[in-house]
């Protein structure tokens, strides 16, 4: 079509020009997208209680959801501590220490627009604890109930107040509750009503399957697209209740990449902007190309957990202390692990509120270690044979074989003859629960299973309390020390947070003084990030706040 009329032509040109100008701001404010290569082989579950350990919580828990309590992830220098989340305050009942009152944060809505209130809290507690509740989901129970072992029930007091009950007095409850993520009951009910199924159980399962594909929490990120095993796309929740944590990036794409070299190549080729745990031997190249490397001490311990059953060589405290003094952890860090560890001098390091003041200093002192061994009756001509069960790989195990071989060589200088019993990771993990007396231990007198030290139960109680011996929990070596039992009870029943922390510090100091484990290393959660990404704060935590991140 030829436009002959000059006025019309001029008007069209003006319109086009205006259109072009109008298009400029859109180009200038194009969506910022942060692409992350995870170590997971699949997207962690998206329905509120993620699988795949704390990597799951990091990516599909704390992003899309909130819990009643949360972690302070704002500092790289201080230990992460528990802070208010969807609850603004909480208090234990003075008369009955099994009852807690939680005041809820007003004005919070789920991503689907439904309100967050006491009914939602009760519904979310019952999804994992009340077997006859319509929303009960067995697949979410394992990853939830074990992280809050004493939580028994929830009751609505009023719209903005709930009462939680524990099986026994337990001051750790507010810390444990960081793991119970609040999913939208209204959204689930919508899927339940639409679901086809022969019975309520089948409908419930169908509703959870649908919810996982189109989830709604209250978190700073909203689900925008999901392709199982390929990617999860999240967009910022501009209406997030905590204005300081409204994401600065418009979109975040999570990509499962279980192979370290593949993750590193994806970063180097510009396919992603951020990778978790890059291949250690690629670190120099990554640095040289301008990528930023982040690492910080994690609440994580790489130990040998000693058997204390009758006849175990570790029953002699001189032998336990000697092993702890015979390992050059700095050498392990700077040599084998290219700096990617923090030497462990206990479960918690100085600066942590639960560290305490141990009198036994865990450090490298070969002469002192040899002296202790000689006092215990060993020497160059009479070595002490110990057998360690470990794995060739596994979540959190860092580099289990080379690290154990390093220990083998180091301890040989202190008259230990270390034999390694290497088994598959899941089998080792299963054997962990069976204990040192079980045939599955294969005669080993120590096991090498790493552990997360986020909360007091996981970090201390399950290993040190005598009643936590197999088959109850992870006191693999059957430690039976009345002092530990007494201190565990004291910590659990001290409800003032500062006094509770002091009691935990006392328990931790006692465990170090007793050389309860061979403490070797803490993982540092290494990640490599494009220089385009700014504002990254890597706290002393398994978690990280993606809301703070910007893209240049």
């Amino acid at each position: 079509m030829l436009i002959k009329n000059n006025k019309t032509r001029a008007a069209l040109i003006a319109l086009l020009a205006l259109g072009s100008v109008a298009a400029w701001p859109r180009v200038a404010s194009a969506d910022t997208v942060l692409r992350i290569g995870m170590t997971a082989a699949d997207i962690p579950r998206t329905l509120g209680q993620p699988d795949q350990g704390f990597e799951g919580n990091r990516f599909t828990g704390l992003t899309m959801y909130d819990a009643l309590t949360g972690w302070d992830l704002s500092s790289a220098d201080k230990a992460s501590v528990v802070i208010p989340g969807l609850a603004t305050e909480w208090k234990v009942d003075d008369a009955d220490k099994t009852k807690w009152t939680f005041k809820l944060r007003p004005g919070v809505t789920f991503h689907d627009g439904s309100p967050f209130n006491a009914d939602a809290v009760v519904w979310n507690v019952e999804k994992v604890l009340k077997q006859d509740a319509p929303q009960f989901d067995a697949s979410q129970v394992g990853v939830t109930a074990s992280r809050m072992p004493t939580l028994a029930s929830a009751k609505k007091i009023d719209d903005m107040t709930v009462e939680l009950t524990t099986k026994e007095p337990d001051s750790f409850l507010p810390i444990n509750l960081t793991n119970l993520f609040m999913a939208s009951p209204a959204k689930w009910q919508h899927f339940y009503d639409k679901a086809e199924g022969a019975d309520a159980k089948a409908k419930s399962q169908a509703a959870w399957t649908a919810f996982a594909k189109d989830a709604a929490g209250t978190g700073p990120w909203k689900m925008a697209g999901f392709t199982p095993r390929e990617r999860l796309e999240l967009v910022k929740n501009a209406n997030y209740w905590n204005k300081d944590r409204v994401p600065k990036v418009d979109k975040m794409v999570l990509l499962p990449m279980p192979e370290a070299n593949a993750r590193t190549a994806a970063l180097l080729s510009g396919q992603v902007d951020w990778v978790e745990a890059p291949a250690p031997d690629a670190l120099p190249e990554l640095k040289q190309r301008g990528f930023k490397l982040y690492a910080n001490e994690q609440p994580h311990v790489w130990p040998w957990q000693f058997s204390r059953v009758e006849g175990s060589p570790w029953n002699d405290i001189r032998v336990r202390k000697a092993a702890n003094l015979c390992v050059d952890r700095e050498g392990l860090k700077d040599g084998l692990l290219a700096g990617l560890m923090v030497p462990a001098s206990g479960t918690f390091e100085p600066g942590h509120p639960w560290r305490g003041k141990p009198t036994f200093e865990i450090k490298y002192d070969k002469a002192a270690a040899q002296k202790l061994m000689q006092e215990a009756g060993f020497g160059p001509s009479k070595k002490l044979e110990v057998k360690i069960q470990t794995s060739a790989s596994g979540s959190g195990q860092m580099q289990p074989l080379p690290m154990n071989e390093y220990l083998q060589q180091a301890l040989a200088e202190c008259y230990f003859d270390v034999k390694l019993d290497v088994i598959e990771w899941n089998t080792l993990f299963t054997n962990w629960r069976r204990g040192a007396k079980d045939p599955s231990a294969n005669g080993s007198n120590a096991t090498n299973v790493t552990y997360a030290a986020m909360d007091p139960f996981f970090a201390l109680v399950r290993f040190l309390q005598s009643s936590m011996a197999p088959p109850v929990s992870n006191n693999w070596g059957f430690i039976n020390n009345p002092k530990f039992d007494e201190l565990v009870k004291k910590a659990r029943q001290t409800f003032d947070p500062a006094a509770r922390d002091a009691a935990l510090a006392e328990l931790h100091a006692a465990s170090v003084d007793d050389a309860a484990f061979l403490y070797v290393a803490h993982d540092v959660g290494p990640r490599a990030i494009s220089p385009k990404v700014t504002g990254v704060v890597q706290p002393k935590s398994w978690f990280i706040d993606f809301s703070l991140v910007s893209m240049k």
Binding site: D42, T209, E230, M257, S269, F429, T430
Partner: protein, 317 residues
């Protein structure tokens, strides 16, 4: 021919049942707890017992197998323990990705293999043969995950031409045969194709050389048949054996390669198998192995039928 097909299908039934039994038992007799994917080692005994009942792992093994087989025959392979998603949907999605990769790799590998094999066979003991044979030997000798990494370093990291990992661009939920998707396929397909390329080259070279040295070829030439006609006879005589080898290779490729799919984060059946093993997700592991084994069995069946159709001597045997 119909009787032959019926006989071959009848052979498949006991094989399929045996495969189902073996893959069920293999997964159950390995040490470790089947609930490890959902049950941390620190979970209480009470909780462990509760979930064991919920997932049916408290029942005797023969009962578990019977129920599993019955459901499998109805197309229900249960739900993944780790993700809660239906196993069949998980496996079929992964298989479709692997099929895409296998088709691309087969096109590259078989075309290259047949070409190189024919050239080497026609020019035996010359430098051309040596070059082609070197390619074939390299194809079967080089560790393919290593080759994958080298290709990624060159074409993704250094040249930035092709993506290093993944199966499609962000925002895409399904496969499409356009460049935006195809560029994700190039490196894994080339890597996957090297072994079939090498094997097919060697097979076709040997067959071509053997056929060319036979008396009937001399006779054809003596009768004045044009070289194109002779070539047609060579192809026809080489086809059944070459087809069998290619069918087997296609079977291996459809089974997925754990290493290649992991190196490229290609969400196929090998990748799925890898995560099912690491998560110790029993229903997913059993379902994946079963479907892959069935693929293999039925592919062999198709190859046998195709061979019989091409070479009538086979069905007589």
């Amino acid at each position: 021919m119909l009787a032959y097909i019926a006989r071959r299908i009848a052979y498949v039934i006991p094989i399929v049942i045996s495969v189902a039994l073996v893959c069920f038992l293999l997964v159950h007799i390995t040490p470790g707890d089947p609930l490890v994917a959902v049950l941390p080692a620190d979970a209480s005994q009470e909780l462990a017992a509760q979930l064991r009942v919920a997932y049916g792992f408290d029942r005797p093994l023969p009962v578990q197998f019977g129920l599993w087989l019955l459901r499998a025959l109805h197309g229900d392979l249960g739900n993944s323990i780790a993700t809660g998603r239906p196993v069949l949907a998980e496996v079929m999605r992964a298989v479709s990705n692997t099929v895409t990769l296998a088709i691309a790799a087969a096109i590259i590998g078989f075309t290259m293999g047949i070409l190189l094999g024919l050239i080497a066979g026609y020019f035996r003991e010359t430098w051309i043969d040596k070059v082609a044979t070197s390619f074939a030997i390299a194809g079967v000798s080089v560790p393919h995950y290593w080759l994958g990494m080298v290709l990624v370093i060159i074409f993704s990291v250094q040249l930035n031409w092709l993506p290093a990992v993944g199966a499609g661009p962000n925002g895409s939920n399904s496969w499409a045969w356009d460049w935006a998707h195809l560029k994700y396929l190039v490196l894994p397909a080339i890597t996957t194709s090297v072994i079939p390329m090498g094997i097919v080259t060697r097979t076709v070279r040997a067959l071509t050389g053997d056929i060319l040295s036979q008396d009937f070829v001399e006779a054809l030439r003596a009768k004045g048949l044009h070289e194109t006609g002779v070539f047609r006879h060579v192809i026809k005589n080489a086809a059944p054996t070459a087809l069998a080898v290619m069918g087997l290779q296609l079977g291996y490729m459809l089974g997925g390669s754990i290493l290649i799919e992991t190196v490229f984060s290609w969400p196929g059946s090998g990748f799925l198998l890898n995560s099912a093993i690491f998560q110790r997700d029993l229903p997913l592991l059993q379902g994946t192995i079963l479907i892959l084994a069935l693929f293999f069995v039925f592919l062999n069946l198709l190859v046998d039928i195709a061979q019989a159709a091409i070479d009538p001597r086979i069905k007589r045997g």
